[in-house]
Symmetry: C2
Subunit: 338 residues, 2 copies
Amino acid sequence: MLSERRLEVLRAIVQDYVGTQEPVGSKALTERHNLQVSPATVRNDMAALEDEGYIAQPHTSAGRVPTDKGYRLFVDRLAGVKPLSKPERRAIQNFLEDAVDLDDVVSRTVRLLAQLTRQVAVVQYPSLTRSTVRHVELLLLAPARLMLVLITDTGRVEQRVVDCPAPISESSLADLRARLNSRVVGERFSEVPGLVQDLPESFDAEDRGTVSTVLATLLETLVEETEERLMIGGTANLTRFVHDFPLTIRPVLEALEEQVVLLKLLGEAKDPGMTVRIGHENVHEGLTSTSVVSVGYGSGDEAVAKLGVVGPTRMDYPGTMGAVRAVARYVGQILAES
Amino acid sequence: MLSERRLEVLRAIVQDYVGTQEPVGSKALTERHNLQVSPATVRNDMAALEDEGYIAQPHTSAGRVPTDKGYRLFVDRLAGVKPLSKPERRAIQNFLEDAVDLDDVVSRTVRLLAQLTRQVAVVQYPSLTRSTVRHVELLLLAPARLMLVLITDTGRVEQRVVDCPAPISESSLADLRARLNSRVVGERFSEVPGLVQDLPESFDAEDRGTVSTVLATLLETLVEETEERLMIGGTANLTRFVHDFPLTIRPVLEALEEQVVLLKLLGEAKDPGMTVRIGHENVHEGLTSTSVVSVGYGSGDEAVAKLGVVGPTRMDYPGTMGAVRAVARYVGQILAES
DNA sequence: CCCTGGCACTCTCGGCCGGCGAGTGCCAGT
DNA sequence: ACTGGCACTCGCCGGCCGAGAGTGCCAGGG
């Protein structure tokens, strides 16, 4: 067990290192933080912290640098979340309020997060697993070809072209449209399959094939749309670290281009509250020298999706966590209003 | 006027420099290309080329490097477009054929271009200026609130929520939906305003305000959607140049995040055929050390949008142009089929 | 037992120097 | 008009050195 002062030393090391980006030595520590002990004492503490694996020295006789384990202890026990200032919060709210549609909300959120944290921002589109059907529309494109449009309560619209096994009349289609909507509107996606299962039976034999095809496509769309989309931004912020790790930046950019990777990254954080994954805690090997701060956000009491930032392990955790949390809160608010 | 051999020397310099990324000297030139003259002669030619501004030396007594003007001459007069190999073309076709919808086509195209050219790929979504309305749908969300869904012949769907000045009945709405569609379906966007202008007059006074509001929203959507969206990819390829210009990469990444900038970039190329903008020919200051190769592509005989790549001025122009042209061709083909 | 001051040691970093080699410009000769 | 020769210019690389920062350890004192 580490003494109180040693924890304090670790905290000081993390803070200084994050601020200066340079290994921090014992003397500098005692000067900048009023630890009330001599450098020699701090050195002993540092040796102990190093034994425990919380800090490391890049080269013999250089200052110390926090390890992933050190950052972990820091965020878990030593640091709080730094709330944003009132003007900042107001700016967030104003900026998000001007959004005109869902795409705009997400894109504004990404820009906001990237700017606030000066890091790479990732925002998942609101999830559809918990969302409900607002409307299903069917349009005849050709005698045996129609378009299925699905509108969700989160404001997303998806369309699919359906090739029918047989031509269908406008009246039958209107019939199907009406019955379909009366059954599924307002229902959660997961409920839909059970609700439409018996629909084909109530149609004439000639239309039954088409109805089945339409329903199959609808269910398929629901499933596909449950797989999330996301938007990223602020990659230019990565260049701030180019001088330090020119060779680390490439795998990060590559990972960021793989939506699958990012979705998994966000998805891994099971906690609906804030999650911080530090360095090697990220399984994807391109991201082992980055940290990910993510949090769920939602339009109501439930979290519908996640957002977060990706940055170097040497990030300002309290500030970043504060920004992420605040943005998530306001986005949820905006979504609930619309 | 430059002699034939001097042009040949310039071509050799460009080719060697692009290949090696290092300033090329007179001796190396005579060895690698069989110019049939001595290094001394080449030196005289190089001095002449330098006087004319086609090449420059980074430092006294280093080899020569092409200038923007040199590259310009190279692409205009000295280089052809290098066609892709048959296996490459087949791979492109196969990869694009598997696309399931428009988003997928665009996303696959981006990945393909980025991979083929090992540069940053930019693909504009098919333009709507020349496209036509396939269907307009109106859905009642609340008594005085409805959703407008616009479907285009390129397969894009856009939706807007409309707040009406007064409640509207389902029957009036159905009436509006039918009349609206009978007028605009199949028409080009630019024609729509004139076609719907007098619609409000044919409705009862109570609905007239709502009809006007709906029409206004529709026209607004048409205009907004004429402003293009685009997708980019392959930014990780930028890191290949990080060692050479660590400070150049940041403005490039920033520019790439600004859709407006990219749209202007693609839009500036008036020629529907291939356009190459080299270095300072790009007005955006972040991109003055990059070249942009772009070309229009389309589903039929008309170009509906552009695609291209952004890379360092020291790129393999013939190869890049070949890849860009081939991809554009196949995308056009795929779009025409679907 | 914990803290402190002192001290010798290690290593990085920046500057400096000198040699090497690539590449050049010029000139005289064919 | 081309070529070979030659002197010259620099950038690059490796080695060297001194400064400075930081460390570990030890002996002494509260």
